[in-house]
Structure formats: structure tokens, C-alpha cells
Symmetry: C2
Subunit: 101 residues, 2 copies
DNA sequence: TTTACTATTCGAGAACTATCGAACATTATG
DNA sequence: CATAATGTTCGATAGTTCTCGAATAGTAAA
């Protein structure tokens, strides 16, 4: 990954609220996967709604933060019916960890 | 480390120029330590001057970026004579890596 | 189709950041 | 002390980011 992309990831995680959001996605995803087979994860369902519950921010702001995380490549979201499923891109996280080695 | 401090570290690394600076410090420090005993590292000497050579930025801007990295706890600097010695705080980097696990 | 729920986009204001050059401070040396 | 080298601080400017509420759009269900 180019260094400019690494910076982009750091930027995405540099706002405290967005870091909370990212952590929430990671944690909730992990909860869902406890006791399931590996790789069966379809992502966190109703991610947007969950985020609205967890963070004290307007929906438009939350939408914006989701976009930033997607834009940095940290998460992938897809519409599922009325709502929103969301996955952490572990390979990107891993690359950033390698960078910090 | 509190999540707000983690965000601070990410913020420090979120500017591309500052990321270059940090990388430069890491790389130059590593060069110096090749072939030396472990833990003999006194830090990168003349870090400021080296930074001025590597980055196309004014001295005041570089001073500002050093401050940001220090403030986030990523590096520690001390004056040595006329110039400036600088060390990476590996434990902080390690904590951030753990956060991303 | 109407209604309700969910998410996005837009416009705006406040706050923050990156960057510069100029002036200043500190240290070493002739 | 005078000069040179190295860093810091200040004030300004241009640009970016966070946040909101209002308006809009997509989807599901009555």
C-alpha cells in the first residue's frame, strides 16, 4: 500500500467519533461471530442504526463518517433491504499494522 | 491507552508530510543501529536538520510537525548541543498496533 | 398509494490545520 | 563580543473538517 493511502487510513481514524464508530463496528462484528464458523460472517447488519444508538450524532453526520471509513478502505458496506450491512476489511487493517512494525 | 489518545496518535500520522517525517525518523534510526548492540540507541542525531533536507517544507512548519509527533507521544526529542536528538517511542507504536488487532 | 422507516445529499457555520515568512531565542565558534 | 547555525514562536491566510438541520430519495409494508 502506498504511503499516501496509509495516511488516508490514519486520517479516517483520527477523529475520535469516527474511531468510536470503527471500534463499534469491530466489536459488534466480533460479538456476532462468537461461536460461529470462521468466514461465515456476512458483516454487521443494521450497522447504521446501531451506530445511531451508540453515538450521539445526527444521522447525516454518521452517514458522513461511514463514507470516510469506506473511502479509506477500512470497511465495506452494502445495502440489505431497508438497511445496511457493514464489514471490516481486515487486510487493510493488517497492512497498517505492518507499516507500524 | 485511552481511546482518545489512540485517536491523537492517528491524527499525528494523518498528514502525509508528517507521516513522511515519522517514517524518516524510523528509517534513519534503524540505519544508525545496524550492527550495533541492542538498546545502545541514543536516538537520531540532527533530526531536525535531516528533516529539513528530506522534506520540502519551511523550518517553522517542520518544527510544528515535530511538536505534533511529540505531543502524540510518538517521539521524544532532546536538545544536544546546538541541535536535536530524537527517538521513536516504540511502546506507543506497539500499543497502537495492539489496538488494531 | 400512503405511510413509515432508513439513509443520502446539500448548504452553512464554527472550528481546526497546514503552511509560510518574519522576528526572536539559544548555542557554538572565530 | 560578533557571527553563524539551529530551532521556536507569532500572525496571517488558504484550505479542510465536523457538525447540524432541512430537503430528498430508496425500500417495505399497510
Amino acid at each position: 500500500m502506498k504511503q499516501s493511502n496509509i495516511a488516508k487510513v490514519f486520517k479516517a481514524l483520527s477523529s475520535e467519533q469516527r474511531l468510536n464508530l470503527f471500534k463499534m463496528i469491530c466489536d459488534e462484528t466480533e460479538k456476532l461471530n462468537l461461536g460461529k464458523e470462521k468466514n461465515c460472517c456476512e458483516g454487521l447488519e443494521k450497522a447504521f442504526t446501531t451506530a445511531c444508538d451508540c453515538l450521539d450524532l445526527s444521522r447525516s453526520t454518521i452517514s458522513h463518517h461511514f463514507k470516510e471509513l469506506q473511502n479509506a478502505g477500512l470497511i465495506t458496506c452494502k445495502r440489505v433491504g431497508q438497511s445496511y450491512s457493514c464489514m471490516v476489511n481486515k487486510d487493510v487493517v493488517q497492512e497498517v499494522r505492518e507499516f507500524l512494525k
